[in-house]
């Protein structure tokens, strides 16, 4: 099974492609998926969360590949970056909200041409935009994201996600594999096993303040709408609670402090979804989410912009093994942009 089969079989109508760094082949993955899905008769929608850097790569000076949406697909981007592409797009909507690059323009691609994608940053607006493209007639919407624009992967926005990493992500293969394995672990967080705690967590989340769940399964709301900047003040109140539900962002400091403050080994931190959790390593505390991310696959680009490149098979194998060790299951890993393969060869070098 190749990446396109996997995407098609998932039935997801919106998919985030999130790069872990620049030059990791995210745009290539997007373009590849767009072309292949279109060739299977699906109508594509393409949007971006925020803006993906500049059109000229500041590191290499080479023009960066733009997404080339197939004819008939729907795109949304800011009027300020539309440029010549405006001539290839039938405009069907102009959204009132003005961003840095002007208003968002929604249109249907009349003739295949490179388009720079700029979209809204917030999960709420992004979600509305994805729904709009689906309403216009897109079968599958691909959302371009990055770790610093991770709202794309929020379950509020997309139904499934693909992580893109590559040789440019870090200095050596071991580090690359460890980083992506941790990210996969984080994005594989699930709701609490207990249905009762899950129900309580949803209730607590709706209250929009950090809330403890105590031993008697009662909700104990704090006065803090966020944990940012109040990590210690909040955790001081933890008492004999079994979990804390945090609306919004969960800081790394909060997680490490949580371990220090609570005596209970099974104390859990519950976030809305994994895109809200900011951590670079296993925090050593139980971590749950209310809305899990459906991580479909990982793509790797063995070539870095520094000219460095790995043996594709070795890279796929190393990443795959590290991921399996971290999450205890196999996540499909695909190789993109390997010169040894034609674009069709992107499909399924290895699955574990």
């Amino acid at each position: 099974m190749n990446l396109v089969d996997l995407v098609e079989k998932s039935g997801a109508r919106s998919i985030a492609v999130v790069g872990t760094a620049k030059n990791v082949g995210k745009t290539v993955t997007m373009s590849y998926l767009a072309q292949e899905l279109a060739s299977r008769g699906l109508v594509l929608g393409l949007v971006s969360s925020g803006r993906d850097g500049e059109s000229i790569d500041s590191l290499t000076g080479e023009p960066k590949p733009s997404v080339v949406p197939p004819e008939g697909s729907w795109v949304a981007t800011a009027e300020g970056v539309l440029g010549e592409a405006a001539a290839f797009i039938e405009i069907v909507d102009v959204l009132e909200r003005v961003g840095l690059f002007g208003r968002l323009v929604v249109g249907r691609v009349v003739e295949q041409a490179p388009v720079e994608l700029v979209g809204p940053q917030s999960a709420r607006e992004l979600s509305a935009l994805v729904k709009k493209l689906l309403a216009f007639g897109a079968d599958v919407v691909l959302v371009d994201g990055a770790l610093d624009r991770r709202a794309a992967a929020s379950p509020k926005v997309t139904e499934a996600s693909i992580l893109a990493t590559g040789a440019s992500s870090s200095a050596n293969l071991k580090t690359i594999a460890e980083e992506i394995a941790f990210l996969t672990w984080l994005w594989s967080r699930v709701p609490p096993e207990s249905r009762l705690i899950e129900t309580l967590s949803r209730k607590a989340m709706a209250m929009n303040v950090v809330t403890f769940i105590d031993q008697e399964f009662l909700l104990r709301p704090t006065e803090y709408p966020t944990c940012l900047g109040f990590e210690e003040e909040i955790l001081e109140e933890s008492g004999d609670s079994i979990a804390v539900v945090v609306p919004g962002a969960v800081s790394e400091k909060f997680l490490s402090e949580a371990r220090a403050w609570t005596e209970r080994k099974d104390f859990a931190v519950i976030a809305r979804d994994a895109t809200c959790i900011f951590a670079a390593k296993d925090p050593g505390v139980k971590l749950h989410v209310i809305e899990p991310i459906n991580l479909l696959a990982i793509t790797v680009n063995p070539v870095s912009y520094r000219g460095m490149s790995y043996e594709p098979k070795e890279m796929v194998r190393t990443v795959s093994a590290a991921v399996r060790a971290a999450v205890g299951r196999t996540v499909p890993v695909f190789d993109v942009v390997s010169g040894e393969k034609s674009i069709r060869g992107v499909a399924g070098v290895a699955m574990g």
């Binding site: 290539v28 590949p65 009027e79 539309l82 010549e84 405006a86 001539a87 797009i89 039938e90 405009i91 069907v92 102009v94 009132e96 002007g102 208003r103 323009v105 249907r108 009349v110 070539v303 000219g307 460095m308 490149s309 790995y310 043996e311 942009v337 390997s338 010169g339 040894e340 393969k341 034609s342 674009i343 060869g345």
Partner: protein, 566 residues
Amino acid sequence: MGKFFAGEATAENIGFLKIWENLVLRSAPGRRVKARARPRLPGEEKELENDLEEIVSVCKLWDTYPDLFERLCNVLESVKDPFYAIALLKDEKRLSSAELFVVGHLAFTVTRVLSILKEIGIQGFPPRAIPPSLKDLERRLLPGSAGQPVFYVSDSYSPELSRVRAERKNKEKMWRAEMTKEAQAVERLLGRRPGLREEIAIRKTSADLIEKARLMPELGEIRETVTHVHFRLKATAEAVKLEREINRLRQREIALEEEVVSTLSREVHAKLGEIEGAAWALGELDFLLAKVELARRWRAVKPEIAETSGRVLFLEDAFHPAVKEEVESRGGRYQPVSVEIDSGVSVITGPNMGGKTVTLATVGLCVALAQWGLLVPCRAMKFSLYDYIYFQPQTGEKPGLSSFAVEIVSLKEPLSRIHERGLVLLDEVGRGTNPAQGLALYAALLSYFMENDRKGSTIIATTHYHGLASMLGVPHWQVTGLVPSQDDLQDLGERWINGARDIKWLYEHMDYRLQKVGPDTPTPQDALLVARVLGLEEEVVRKAEDFYLLGRGFQEGVRGSASSRN
């Protein structure tokens, strides 16, 4: 909110600001029209009469055609802000594709709005809310848009553009065929087919393959990494020639596209007047519908506007929407306010919790709503226009100023506008200071208005000083207050035994209606009853009743001690 509201927070205090802010418009033009709205002032009675009559007639139409109005609201919701395009046109600038779409969309919206208005009966709407048809513009900018407005620099705008595009596409096809032919040749020789970006990467372990590739004229070496050498397919001479032609055609195409956009911009510019007129008309329609919706929600009525004579302020069963909502949300029964007050000074007395402040706010709110062109939440209203409204309720202190100081500073405002016709709502002025001096100040303030006002202002003053009205010889109204029947008192007694001394009993038994006080009307003992109901020590309440019965002697004692202190 301009000069109409005198004093720092009158608009907020009477509850007008919140209602105005919650008047949500569906479109950008509607929001602009609302932002430009201002109250009608004395001299504009006829205009206000018209404004209000419009709302009444559209209200009736809405009752008759609810579905059509729902459609109209949905269409207005889809309006794109046209004012940026209008600004560009005024500067004679070229519109972008996005702006051309916005203008086309405006024309499309106007067509839909006009067809709905015709179905309802267009003569029922004021002319300023009926947009001029932009059918020509719609046809020109959105050709072939069936149901869904779409703008695209299509071939139909320019035969030349159509020709160039076709030629460019043809050359591109030839270029692809040429490159594919070459790629196939490479594949035959190397056993490898160029992939993404026409590239081939060969592992360094296959040294012979690399040598072979280096010798092939079709391939150029582009970079070398630790493990691979990368090659890219070179364009053949024919392909290079085609590329050059494609580029030339593309440049021509871009120029032609710009020409189309410029031509369209000029055509749109010629219709600037109609476009701007349509934008504002949609805004007026949106604003009118918002006012009608509010009137329907409140079952509001059109006030009667008295021009010069009979300057009476009459309100029957008026309600303050925010207070009503609050009362009903706690399960209470809201008692509407009725007043009939002549111009000049009137005094209202009443018990604590008797709704004196709410009465003032309701009067102020109804007048403000009416002058801002909205129907009024009451059964009937009659009034004549004011130049300004002033209301300063008893509120807390500000940093560095006592509540008394806040009050004094605020009072300068209506005093400075003595030559205008004001609705001056005074809430227990002087409460926060020495009682005797407070009373003196209040009486002086009111008599100043009585002596100097020539415009027929209405001054309503609430107070606990029962003698104030007779001291000045002005009409005196009192909140009916607590008038418990024998059964009620028995019920109250039982509640006391059960230890329930709550505010709820007060809410249930307080009669908020105003009644005119004559010379023989006794002063109610509401304060002591309120204290008792709220559960103050019985001994204290009894003592208070004894003191009260001492009556005048006690009051004089207070006055004496006040004057001896000064």
